[in-house]
C-alpha cells in the first residue's frame, strides 16, 4: 500500500520550493508539514471553516481542499508572506481576534479582497470573510479592522 512520492515545485510567497509528497497530500499539509509554514491552520480539513485560507493566483482558497500536486506553477501566498501589511496592523488595532486561530485565514481572505478592491464596502468585507468562521466571535472587530485598512474609521 506504500504510495510512491511525487516531486512538485511550489511557488510560495515568491520563492520556488521543491517537495516530494504523496499525490493525495493537500496543499495545506504540504505547506504546514513539508514547508514548515504553519500560519494556515487545519481546523476542519474539509472546506467548512476557512482557517486554512491562502491565496492561489491572487484568489482566496481553502488549502485543505486542494491537492499540492495540482498547485505546481501557481502563485501561492500565505500569511508568512505579509510584512507589516495594513491589514495586520489594523487587526491589532481593532482587537480583531482572541485565540487567533482563525486570524491568518481571515487576513488572507481580506487580502484577496483588498488586492481587487482597495476600499471595499462593509458588505464586500462581510462577504469576503463569510467563509471564515471565528468561534471566539470576533466578527465585529474583524469587520472594523478591514474598515480601518480601507481607510475608513
Amino acid at each position: 500500500m506504500s504510495v510512491p512520492l511525487e516531486s512538485v515545485t511550489l511557488r510560495v510567497n515568491g520563492a520556488e520550493r521543491a517537495v516530494r509528497v504523496e499525490p493525495r497530500r493537500t496543499l495545506l499539509d504540504a505547506l504546514r508539514l513539508d514547508l514548515g509554514l504553519t500560519g494556515a491552520k487545519k481546523a476542519c480539513d474539509m472546506g467548512n471553516c476557512g482557517a486554512c485560507t491562502v491565496l492561489l493566483d491572487g484568489r482566496a482558497v481553502y488549502a485543505c481542499l486542494l491537492l499540492a500536486i495540482d498547485c505546481a506553477g501557481r502563485e501561492i501566498a500565505t500569511v508568512e508572506g505579509l510584512h507589516d501589511d495594513p491589514l495586520q496592523r489594523a487587526f491589532i488595532e481593532a482587537d480583531a481576534f482572541q485565540c487567533g486561530f482563525c486570524t491568518p485565514g481571515q487576513i488572507m481572505s481580506l487580502k484577496a479582497l483588498f488586492s481587487r478592491t482597495p476600499a471595499p464596502s462593509d458588505e464586500e468585507i462581510v462577504r469576503a470573510v463569510s467563509g471564515n468562521l471565528c468561534r471566539c466571535g470576533a466578527y465585529r472587530n474583524i469587520v472594523r479592522a478591514a474598515r480601518i485598512a480601507a481607510g475608513r474609521r
Binding site: 514548515g36 494556515a40 480539513d45 482557517a51 487587526f91 491589532i92 482572541q98 468561534r135 466571535g137 465585529r140
Partner: protein, 655 residues
C-alpha cells in the same frame, strides 16, 4: 492597550500545539467506536502494524491497563458511545495513520442503548431547599408553571483538542492545547504512574477551549504512550468529527419551573425539577450546576431545586462557558418574563423588586451589592429600553430583557507569580495560560501599574509548568482575579528589591463574590418564514475594575456571539442509534460574520476592592449567559409566541 501577542497572531508566528515540528515527528489517529453501546469480542491490529510507515499501534490488546472515567479504562473492551476510543496508530503522516486504522479488525457484540434525555439512566437527585416550598406556593397569587428544554451544544473551538508528545529520557514533554497545564500535568503523571516533576506541559497559544479543554483527555496519554513505543515524537490532533463526538458538549436539559409571586411582583416560591444529560461518562469538570442560578439570582424565601443527571450512550458532557448557568438562565429568565407579562409589569421593574443583596446559599452579603442594579441601569440606558421600532409587513419587531449572575469570576486561590525588574524593564513570570482572553496582557498592565512603568516595558512568561509557579486552570472566569493579585504583590516587592514573589491570598470569609449582568435584545421576526434576525444587543456586566476595556469588549461581543448561536442555531443532532448527524462545521451552525447584529457593550468599570487587591473580576463566561433568554423574550414580544425550547428554530415560530 493592545494585546501583547497581537504581532505573533497576525503573522502566523504564534505557535499552537498543532504547529510543533520536532525531528522524526509522527502523526497519530484514533479509532473510535461505530456503535453506541457494544462489547469488543475480537480486535486484531496485525495488518495495521505491518503497514509501511506505521510505527506504533495501541488498543485494549496491548495498551497498559489504565483506569479512566470512573469504572472504565483507557481502551475499554466495553464501548459506551459512538466515538469512544478503541485503538490508536502513530505513523509517518496522518494519511498513513488513517490507512492503518482501516486495517484494524474489530468484532463487536452490540448492547442495548439509550440515547435521549428522557430514556437514559437517572442518577441520584441533588436537592436544595430553603424555607417551605408548599407554603410559598400557597402564598402565591400568581404562578408561572412551564417546562423548558435546552439542547446539547458543541464547543467547536477552531483548534481541535490535541497535543504533541515527546520523551526526553524518562521525562515527558507535552505541547498541549489546554486551559489547564497543571491539570494535564497531574492527571497524565498519575495515569502513567510517573512523578509530576517528570511531566512538563507547555501551552503558549491555544485556539479556543470554552471549557472543553479544562481537563486532561485520553489523547494526551495515548500520544505519550505512542511516542514511547515508537521512540519518536507524536502529534495527535483530533479531527473535527472526533472533536464533536468525544471531547465534551454542553449538556441538554429539561427544566420544569414553577415561580410563585404576589400581585406586587414579590417572589414567594421557586420550584424547579431539572434533568441534565451527562452522556456516557462523568469526565470530571462537568460542573453543570443548573440549579445554581435558581438559588441566587432573586431574593426568594421558599425554594426547592432538584437536579438529576441522566446517563445516555452519547458523548460525555463537559463544562461549556458558564456551565449550568447558561441553561438555567434561559429557563429562569424566560419564566420571569412570563411572570412579568402575567403581572403586566415591566420586566426590569420585576427584577428590581426581587433584588438579592446576599448570597442566599451561604447567608453572606455580596461584595459589590449594587453592581447588578447598576448593570440594569447601564444596559437600559444604552439600549433605550423600552423604546421599540415598528416592523413592516410580515416582519414584526420585539425587545427582550434578561439578567444573570455567575458564581465564577471571583478568583480561585492559590496562585503564585514572580516579577523581576532590571534596566527600567520588568518581566512577569507565571505559569498560567492565556487561552485567548488576553490574560497575559492584563497581567503585564497590573505589574506596570504597580511598578510605575509603561506597559510596553513589561513582558510576561507563561504557559509552562516548568516555571513551577502554580496557577489554577483557566475556568470559571477566574484567571485574572486569581493571578492579578499575585502579580501585583510580586510587583510591589520587586519595586523595592528588584525581584519579588507574590501569592494570591484567600478570598474574603464573610462575603460572597459574584459576577452578574444584563442584556437587552431587539429582534425582527418574519411571520411568513419564521426567520429571526437579531438587530441589536446591548450588554452591561459587572467584572469589577476594568483593567483593559479593549479586552473586556472583545469578551463581551464574543460571548454574545456564541450566545446568539446557542439561542438560534446551534444544536447537536443525534439519531435513534446515537449517531451524531452534524459533527461538522458545515452542519453544526455557528454564527458567521454575515449574522452580525449591532452589539453595544455598556459595561462600566466597577472596582470591587473587597473581592481582591486589583478590584478586577472575570468576564470570560458571563456575556454568553443571558443572551438566549433575552432573544426568546424578544421573540415573544414581537409575535406572541413563547419559545420554551432552544434553539429558537423557525418551525417553532410558525405553524
Amino acid at each position: 492597550m493592545k494585546r501583547i501577542e497581537g504581532p505573533e497572531k497576525v503573522t502566523g508566528r504564534a505557535h499552537y500545539a498543532c504547529d510543533v515540528r520536532l525531528p522524526g515527528q509522527l502523526y497519530a489517529r484514533v479509532l473510535r467506536s461505530p456503535l453506541p453501546h457494544a462489547r469488543i469480542t475480537r480486535i486484531d491490529a496485525a495488518r495495521a502494524e505491518r503497514l509501511a510507515g506505521v510505527h506504533a499501534v495501541l488498543s485494549s490488546a496491548n495498551a497498559p491497563d489504565i483506569s479512566w472515567y470512573e469504572e472504565s479504562r483507557l481502551f475499554d473492551r466495553t464501548l459506551r458511545f459512538i466515538g469512544d476510543e478503541l485503538a490508536a496508530v502513530a505513523g509517518e503522516s496522518e494519511e498513513i495513520a488513517e490507512d492503518a486504522l482501516r486495517l484494524i479488525e474489530v468484532d463487536y457484540e452490540a448492547l442495548p442503548c439509550a440515547v435521549g434525555l428522557e430514556d437514559g439512566v437517572r442518577g441520584k437527585p441533588q436537592l436544595q431547599r430553603r424555607g417551605d416550598i408548599d407554603n410559598g406556593l400557597r402564598e402565591a397569587e400568581v404562578v408561572v408553571d412551564a417546562v423548558y428544554t435546552t439542547q446539547t451544544a458543541l464547543h467547536n473551538a477552531l483548534e481541535p483538542h490535541g497535543c504533541t508528545a515527546h520523551w526526553e529520557d524518562d521525562s515527558l514533554v507535552l505541547h498541549e492545547s489546554t486551559q489547564g497545564i497543571f491539570a494535564v500535568r497531574d492527571e497524565v503523571a498519575e495515569k502513567l504512574g510517573m512523578p509530576k516533576e517528570r511531566v512538563r506541559v507547555i501551552t503558549q497559544h491555544m485556539g479556543g477551549g470554552f471549557g472543553a479543554k479544562q481537563i486532561a483527555w485520553k489523547h494526551s496519554v495515548i500520544a505519550a504512550l505512542l511516542a514511547k513505543r515508537a521512540g519518536r515524537p507524536v502529534q495527535l490532533m483530533l479531527e473535527r468529527e472526533a472533536e464533536n463526538l468525544a471531547v465534551g458538549n454542553r449538556n441538554a436539559t429539561r427544566q420544569r419551573v414553577r415561580l410563585g409571586a404576589k400581585r406586587d411582583g414579590t417572589l414567594c416560591a421557586i420550584d424547579v425539577h431539572i434533568l441534565v444529560q451527562s452522556g456516557a461518562y462523568l469526565v470530571g469538570g462537568e460542573d453543570s450546576d443548573v440549579i445554581g442560578a435558581y438559588q441566587t439570582l432573586y431574593r426568594c424565601p421558599h425554594l426547592r431545586a432538584e437536579q438529576v443527571g441522566v446517563r445516555t450512550n452519547t458523548g460525555p458532557a463537559v463544562a461549556f462557558r458558564a456551565p449550568g448557568h447558561a441553561e438555567a438562565i434561559f429557563a429562569l429568565e424566560s419564566a420571569m418574563d412570563e411572570l412579568s407579562r402575567a403581572l403586566a409589569m415591566d420586566p426590569i421593574e420585576l427584577r428590581l423588586r426581587n433584588y438579592a443583596t446576599e448570597d442566599q446559599t451561604k447567608g453572606k452579603p455580596y461584595t459589590s451589592v449594587d453592581s447588578l442594579r447598576r448593570c440594569y441601569g447601564q444596559v437600559k440606558a444604552a439600549f433605550d429600553w423600552p423604546e421599540r421600532r415598528m416592523g413592516q409587513g410580515s416582519k414584526k419587531r420585539g425587545i427582550g430583557f434578561a439578567a444573570h449572575d455567575w458564581a465564577g469570576g471571583g478568583g480561585w486561590p492559590p496562585a503564585e507569580a514572580r516579577v523581576e525588574v532590571a534596566d527600567g524593564a520588568a518581566r512577569v513570570v507565571t505559569a498560567t495560560q492565556d487561552i485567548g482572553t488576553g490574560t497575559g496582557t492584563a497581567l503585564c498592565q497590573i505589574a506596570a501599574d504597580e511598578l510605575g512603568l509603561p506597559a510596553e516595558r513589561v513582558s510576561i512568561v507563561l504557559g509552562d509548568t516548568r516555571e513551577g509557579l502554580y496557577s489554577p486552570t483557566s475556568a470559571g472566569s477566574a484567571t485574572l482575579a486569581t493571578l492579578g493579585p499575585a502579580v501585583r504583590m510580586a510587583a510591589a516587592k520587586a519595586k523595592k528589591s528588584g525581584r519579588g514573589k507574590g501569592s494570591r491570598v484567600k478570598n474574603p470569609k464573610d462575603k460572597s463574590i459574584r459576577t452578574c449582568g444584563a442584556q437587552c435584545v431587539e429582534v425582527e421576526v418574519d411571520t411568513e418564514t419564521g426567520e429571526v434576525r437579531v438587530l441589536r444587543v446591548a450588554a452591561a456586566h459587572d467584572c469589577g475594575r476594568v483593567i483593559n476595556p479593549v479586552l473586556v469588549e472583545s469578551q463581551v461581543i464574543g460571548g454574545i456571539t456564541q450566545g446568539l448561536g446557542y439561542a438560534l442555531s446551534e444544536e447537536r443532532m443525534v439519531d435513534a442509534c446515537g449517531l451524531v448527524l452534524n459533527a461538522s462545521l458545515e452542519e453544526y451552525k455557528v454564527q458567521t460574520a454575515a449574522d452580525g447584529p449591532q452589539l453595544v457593550n455598556a459595561t462600566q468599570s466597577m472596582p470591587d476592592w473587597e473581592a481582591n487587591a486589583t478590584g478586577a473580576k472575570g468576564i470570560g463566561e458571563p456575556p454568553l449567559i443571558p443572551t438566549a433568554a433575552a432573544v426568546a423574550n424578544a421573540i415573544f414580544d414581537a409575535i406572541g409566541v413563547r419559545v420554551r425550547d432552544l434553539p429558537c428554530k423557525r418551525e417553532r415560530l410558525i405553524g
